[in-house]
Symmetry: C2
Subunit: 209 residues, 2 copies
């Protein structure tokens, strides 16, 4: 469980403290397989999760079967915390396993009860940076063309990776659902950008030129 030492939620705590906290909040570890639903969109959630290995994704499926991917969540990322705090009966969002995942599930009410200022403050910081992420993503989505959506997303990724060469966690269909566009239109836009010498890519490896 040394992974958790690097987790934002437990920043500043010792391994002993972390173990104590996890006991107090009734943390349990579960394993999920690809496409298994971890949280359904119609439940009032009492828990949030931490990805220990593998990956999961936040997904919204609308009436017409369109899928929107909010984000793919990888090692040490949290999911469901905002919705569990909000106490909504119906979130509209599913959490689905994307790649064989080990997940730590935590009861949020118990977390609020524990008397550890550091944890609460850490949680606040996590919520704040998720806010910043969502705001960033809205900037991509607000762009008027697929090309602009794609380039603003990719240049943000380059920034995050501090390199113009990087891997993204999405395949084509997932990237299309993440950016809210049609897959084939995205593919052809990618080909066009490659032909123009603006970028290079192979599968989920990208290079901005």
């Amino acid at each position: 469980m040394e992974i958790l030492l690097k987790n934002e939620l437990f920043k500043g705590l010792s391994l002993d403290d972390i173990n104590k906290v996890i006991e107090e909040v009734e943390g349990i570890i579960k394993i999920f397989h690809k496409n298994e639903v971890i949280i359904t969109p119609k439940e009032k959630i009492k828990v949030f999760g931490i990805v220990l290995s593998g990956s999961v994704m936040g997904v919204h499926n609308d009436y017409w079967g369109h899928r929107t991917i909010l984000k793919i969540l990888e090692e040490n990322e949290l999911f469901g915390e905002a919705f569990s705090f909000s106490q909504l009966d119906n979130t509209g969002i599913s959490i689905v396993c994307n790649k064989e995942a080990k997940v730590l599930l935590i009861n949020f009410e118990k977390l609020l009860e524990i008397d550890n200022r550091k944890i609460i403050q850490n949680m606040m910081m996590i919520l704040a940076s998720k806010n910043v992420f969502l705001t960033r993503k809205m900037e991509y989505l607000s762009k008027r063309s697929i090309k602009d959506k794609l380039l603003s997303y990719l240049s943000d990724e380059a920034m995050n990776n501090k390199s113009n060469k990087f891997y993204i966690p999405y395949n084509r269909q997932e990237l299309a659902d993440f950016l809210g566009v049609d897959r084939s239109a995205l593919s052809s836009e990618l080909s066009k950008l490659k032909a123009e010498g603006i970028l290079n890519f192979n599968k989920n490896y990208f290079e901005l030129l």
Copy 2:
């Protein structure tokens, strides 16, 4: 300042407590006029704000002069809190006065220092519900057509107002910039929906049928 008694941040505190807190965090009140910039996109912000009267908006202007409106913030809403916590040098977001506004500005570092569990917990809840709002908004933006973006936004507003008749805080250009679409295309889509008997509207008053 009884407005603040209804504010989410001070929920559960008495008026005396609130006054004490505001002193501790060096809260100052400022007045802004329409189109005045309250927070510029290139500064590292040390403060966040509470709208006491009037309204402000979170705005992103891109390289080509396209404006994206994140949200119009009205009485008792907070702005800038996520970005001030995140400590970014460059947020890319401006806060601009939308309608003659009185604003309470608070130093976020001082807020973190004060020893009041309730305030920190309230702030966490505020961040969580902003998260939920942003997630909702992503659902609108991910829709493939103007019609769907519009209808998902309007039906959410109807839900929030618990009525199929309601006012929105946006004029046409602002609504277009909020939904990331062209104003004239939005206008003609609205007319079409009115002709189809799906909705009725007059200026910023809407009725879902």
